[in-house]
């Protein structure tokens, strides 16, 4: 009886994960650390939440939402470029014994002198085990300027879905080793919120990440070791009512 109860509680948690994590799933270690402020991100995994990343490489990530041992999220992401055009494909896969969710996407973006314009198509597929599956399609649009010490970005994410979100962000480098960003997010079915983030390069190989958002009140922290074109990152993100979420990413950029 206890076992069944535990399974249903875990399933309930899984179903609640998306709204609790600000509707748009932010699974990569980088997104977990900077609360979705992709102007600060150099992870290919964040193509899933930004159509204007304009970087190339490979990323694999593991995410444990709200420290639940019953739920596993895996992500696999790729991006290549040809002249000014970037192409990215990737997926996030959430697995629970009784529920699974799969979110493959395909992105194309054009980058020229720091200006990026991009679009992403998403297919979200979820299934309760042994029951019927559901799928839905949505798309992202974005425009960004990101060059040198400053950047700005506007994104429409998951248009045509319940998780639709519009966000505005700006970035500025306070010193050669410290970069900050701030943003405002408007969601279709939830309250608007602010978010801020910071990166501090402690060493050529080591960077620290921090962030905060209101509604709900959450903090993100991360550390990235990047000896070369590859990097390993761990991050944690708190929640006002639930256990913190953990994420690990392995990134290779080229």
């Amino acid at each position: 009886m206890l076992f069944i109860k535990e399974r249903y509680l875990a399933l309930l948690l899984v179903i609640l994960i998306s709204p609790l994590a600000a509707s748009v799933d932010e699974y990569s270690a980088m997104a977990n650390a900077v609360i979705g402020l992709t102007l600060l991100s150099d992870s290919v995994a964040d193509y899933s939440i930004s159509p204007v990343m304009a970087i190339t490489g490979l990323s694999a990530n593991y995410h444990r939402p709200f420290n639940s041992s019953k739920v596993t999220v895996l992500g696999l992401h790729n991006a290549i470029s040809r002249s000014n055009i970037h192409l990215a494909v990737g997926t996030n896969y959430l697995h629970h014994q009784d529920y699974s969710k799969h979110d493959p996407y395909l992105n194309i973006n054009y980058h020229f002198h720091g200006i990026s314009l991009g679009a992403t198509g998403h297919m979200s597929y979820d299934a309760i085990q042994l029951e019927d599956a559901e799928y839905s399609f949505s798309y992202d649009l974005g425009a960004a300027y990101n060059r040198g010490d400053y950047g700005a970005e506007v994104k429409l994410l998951r248009a045509d879905s319940d998780a639709e979100q519009v966000s505005y962000s700006m970035k500025a480098a306070l010193s050669p080793d410290v970069t900050t960003a701030a943003g405002y997010v408007m969601e279709k079915n939830y309250k608007d919120y602010f978010r801020v983030g910071i990166i501090a390069d402690l060493h050529d190989f080591v960077s620290l990440y921090g962030s905060w958002q209101n509604e709900p009140n959450r903090f993100g922290l991360g550390v990235k070791i990047k000896p070369d074109r590859w990097g390993l990152m761990y991050s944690i993100r708190t929640h006002s009512s639930l256990d913190p979420s953990h994420a690990i990413s392995l990134d290779i950029n080229w």
């Binding site: 696999l76 896969y93 697995h95 297919m123 085990q129």
Partner: protein
């Protein structure tokens, strides 16, 4: 041993495994025997452990003008085959006769031939064959006799399986054929008389235990165009197939029309229609490819299959493809959209009960060479269809990182399967060429291979990360000499 992981049509579209799963198993065998020359001999042994335990081995040994080919699959029983070949003129053992479009035997539009044996667990003619050529003229003839395992209904043949399995019943099959052909530079033609006989009758009244067919083919080749026609005539009815192949500049097109009357398809004929195994149907196909510059190409294809006989069969079946490909020395990206009429898949999945509408398949695959040693590969597939009561769909995502240096190759990655209530047929390095997935899972995989001086060795592992007992291991040993 080199594996073919996806069957392709002549136009380059990967064929959906559901449309002709049996032929996929022969492709891995063909790839072993068709390695480029010089090749005097080769040996490959592949041992599988886990979900299915079996061993499969292939041998080819050549000396002067003689060539010996042998294969064995050991699973619940032992399934061997062999072939002894002198030049391409005399063949003893198992062989696969190929003649024109394959209305009577296998398909080889270039010239009649007696090809390598099939997968050891597949049936093929067993006996002796001759393919003698003198200048432009040729004679192809063969005789075969063997006992085949069958499913019986009383004393009658209910099913004649194409693969060797243990059934209670047996039937003796006798085949014979004599054909003459002439191959000139632009014109080729041939005529063949074929006979097959079983020592039991079929329970299906439309099938005769004794079948005699006469067939004619002709083809005309120009610099840009090839026209081909094959006609086969039997006691109950006939079949014909016409094909036009055009290559002009950056355009390549292939158009064909097939028509089957009350035609009993011979035991080892190629599948005459893509979308149906029934007779009394017509099929029209068009496949086109156009190159846009040096890197891009677009492809489109359509197949329509029309009923001419039994009212119980669906009247129209259709299959359409649309694809786009980018390729340069370091990158390859391909996207293909398929639509398939549901009835096509009934023979492989009886849960498809509705008659309309079509269902969709989307395939995305890509490769990128990061540097001379490292590369990455992605392959994704989404299948969608609607049943009476609910949506049925499935998807897969395979991601691999590959490291190659001199004799060493390492491949590792994940395959994510989302398939709650839908059977996914995915290409596989299994000897059957495909694998069926019916539940959601994450599969990790690792493949290590090293070419030693005396032997090529590779180890493969695939396992469900959520269920440690659900795994597959494979050891391949190969040598070419």
């Amino acid at each position: 041993m080199c594996r073919v992981v996806a069957q392709e049509t002549a136009e380059g579209f990967p064929l959906l495994p559901e449309l002709d799963p049996i032929s996929l198993s022969d492709q891995s065998t063909d790839s072993f025997y068709s390695e480029p020359e010089p090749l005097s001999g080769a040996l490959a042994v592949s041992a599988h452990y886990g979900r299915k335990d079996y061993l499969i081995s292939h041998l080819q040994f050549g000396k002067e003008s003689w060539l010996l080919r042998a294969a064995l699959k050991a699973e619940k029983g032992y399934y061997p085959n062999f072939q002894l070949r002198y030049h391409d003129a005399l063949v003893l053992g198992s062989f696969r006769p190929q003649w024109a479009h394959g209305l009577v035997s296998g398909k080889n539009p270039n010239h009649p031939s007696l090809d390598n044996p099939p997968h050891p667990a597949s049936y093929s003619p067993l006996g002796a064959g001759l393919n003698l050529r003198y200048k432009d003229w040729g004679v192809l003839s063969y005789l075969s006799q063997q006992d085949r395992a069958v499913k019986l209904d009383g004393d009658l043949i209910a099913t004649l399986p194409k693969s060797k399995q243990s059934y209670l019943g047996n039937v003796t099959e006798k085949l014979g054929s004599f054909g003459i052909y002439r191959e000139l530079q632009t014109l080729g033609w041939g005529a063949q008389l074929y006979h097959q006989r079983y020592d039991r009758a079929f329970d299906d009244e439309a099938l005769d235990s004794t079948l005699t067919l006469a067939s004619l083919y002709a083809h005309l080749s120009g610099s840009n165009n090839t026209l081909m026609l094959e006609y086969a005539h039997g006691k109950r009815g006939n079949a014909m197939k016409a094909e036009w192949d055009i290559q002009s500049g950056e355009f390549h097109g292939k158009f064909s029309y097939s028509r089957l009357g009350k035609y009993q398809i011979p035991a080892y004929a190629a599948k005459p229609l893509l979308l149906s195994s029934q007779d009394q149907r017509s099929e029209i196909r068009a496949d086109m490819q156009y190159r846009l510059g040096s890197h891009f190409s677009i492809r489109a294809g359509t197949t329509g299959n029309y009923r001419r006989g039994d009212l119980g069969d669906p009247q129209w079946l259709a299959h359409n493809n649309l694809g786009m490909q980018y390729r340069d020395p370091n990158a390859h990206l391909e996207m293909i959209l398929y639509t398939v009429d549901r009835e096509i898949l009934i023979p492989v999945d009886s849960t498809y009960v509705d008659s309309r509408p079509t269902h969709f398949r989307v395939l995305i695959s890509g490769k990128y060479q990061i540097n001379p040693c490292w590369s990455t590969e992605v392959s994704a597939r989404y299948q969608h269809q609607e049943k009476h009561m609910a949506l049925s769909s499935g998807s897969s995502w395979a991601q691999r990182v590959v490291y190659r240096k001199k004799r060493l190759q390492i491949k590792t990655g994940f395959t994510i399967i989302s398939s709650a209530n839908h059977k996914l047929y995915l290409p596989s390095d299994d000897d059957t060429g495909y694998e069926i997935y019916g539940k959601s899972m994450v599969e990790s995989n690792l493949h290590l291979s090293y070419k030693f001086r005396v032997l090529d060795v590779s180890l493969s592992y695939r396992g469900d990360v959520m269920d440690i007992d659900n795994f597959r291991c494979k050891i391949d040993l190969g040598k070419r000499f």
